[in-house]
């Protein structure tokens, strides 16, 4: 039996997995996540077993039990429970539904609802040299210090074709019926090993055949979009509204519309790196 403790924002979650395929898939799910091995369960327990070629995930705190026969789907549901519990219980930080990558100490945060192309765009960023933090949830304090829930990047079926040519180590990909899980190493990318500083907000919108557009947003437009992706507002004083608006005022905010990676300018990753660097200068 193996146990891993995830201790973020005052929320403790223990993943418990039996030796064999359950432990192996848990290791992949947690490989980039800030967690440590432990001998005893602390906080919420997520229990993973494997029997008769089926994984079973149990979350007793929510009376939830799932049987799954594909590793990608196990990774999706296991990490989804971790996201849920963090967003449900974190009280000292703001949890945003957002992807994030970093260049040096500075983080680019990509808030977006499901379906906006957040995870696919994260793959592109990771494959273009940005350190990977998360494709789903960031935890940021009112000073802009942030960390991400570094799960394998999760791509739904319809997004697979777009990221196929970004794969360098396809043997690391964990397929599922609902979601395919991509450890960042499958893109030859690296996961960030320490917290970063918020430096740039980018609100993406993928639309088939859309032309590339990258435009600065007003603080009000960015504030509207950011609050729509704040997932633990009810746990915070004043729903975190004033703190989020202060972050917006002090951080450059852009919208990105694109119709596929082919529509992005060839120097777009360099542009983003430059934006992150100049943001640091303006904060200094």
């Amino acid at each position: 039996m193996a146990r891993w403790l995830i201790d973020m924002a005052g929320v403790k979650i223990t993943v418990r997995a039996k030796a064999g395929p359950a432990r192996e898939v848990a290791k992949v799910a947690l490989s980039s996540m800030r967690c440590e091995r432990t001998n005893s369960t602390q906080g919420i327990e997520l229990n993973l077993t494997f029997k008769d070629n089926v994984w079973e995930l149990v979350d007793r705190s929510n009376n939830l039990r799932r049987k799954l026969d594909q590793a990608g789907d196990v990774i999706y549901h296991l990490t989804d429970r971790i996201v849920f519990h963090l967003a449900d219980k974190a009280k000292d930080v703001h949890c945003l539904h957002a992807a994030s990558v970093a260049h040096g100490a500075n983080a680019l945060v990509v808030p977006a609802n499901s379906g906006a192309g957040k995870s696919s765009f994260t793959c592109w960023l990771a494959a273009n040299g940005f350190e990977y933090l998360t494709d789903e949830l960031i935890l940021v304090d009112s000073q802009g210090a942030l960390e991400g829930l570094s799960r394998p990047i999760q791509i739904k079926f319809h997004g697979l074709e777009a990221i196929d040519r970004l794969l360098v180590n396809p043997e690391l990909v964990q397929k599922g019926k609902y979601v395919t899980a991509l450890p960042v190493e499958s893109l030859d990318g690296v996961a960030a090993s320490e917290p970063k500083k918020l430096a740039l907000f980018l609100f993406p919108k993928y639309q088939k055949e859309a032309e590339f557009s990258f435009e600065k947003l007003t603080s009000a437009e960015a504030g509207m979009r950011l609050m729509a992706n704040h997932v633990n507002a009810r746990n915070l004083e004043g729903h975190g509204f004033r703190a989020m608006m202060n972050l917006i005022r002090n951080t450059p905010c852009y919208s990105l519309e694109y119709g596929g990676f082919d529509t992005l300018p060839s120097d777009f990753s360099s542009q983003l790196e430059a934006q992150l660097a100049s943001s640091t200068l303006s904060h200094a």
């Binding site: 007003t218 603080s219 504030g223 509207m224 609050m227 004043g238 729903h239 509204f241 004033r242």
Partner: protein
């Protein structure tokens, strides 16, 4: 809409000036509204003392060239603010005009 209705701001709402533009957050239903020029004016007038008719009259006096449009705009904004829970219609006991003579 009854133009004699009075509205007041929902007290829990939070307002932020974002570089000259106003954002309004309602923690009760976790909605954020971007108040543009007309809606910011109507929001300010929803202080419990003004009926909808008074708001329309006040704004028509300030912007006489747009008098016809103003009535439609005020009603539309009141409906939007009310639907998002950031203003509340006052009861007959709360509204000043109803209190007179009571």
């Amino acid at each position: 809409m009854n133009l004699e209705n009075h509205y007041q701001k929902t007290p829990e709402c939070l307002l932020e000036d974002m570089d000259g533009e106003t954002l309004l957050y309602n923690p009760i239903n976790a909605t954020t509204l971007h108040l543009n020029g007309p809606s910011a004016l109507v929001w300010e007038l929803c202080n419990g003392n003004n009926s909808v008719a008074t708001m329309i009259h006040t704004l028509q006096q300030a912007y006489p060239a747009q008098a016809e449009q103003i009535e439609r705009d005020v009603i539309e904004v009141i409906n939007e603010l009310s639907e998002n829970g950031v203003i509340q219609q006052m009861t007959s006991l709360q509204a000043p005009s109803q209190q007179v003579g009571s």
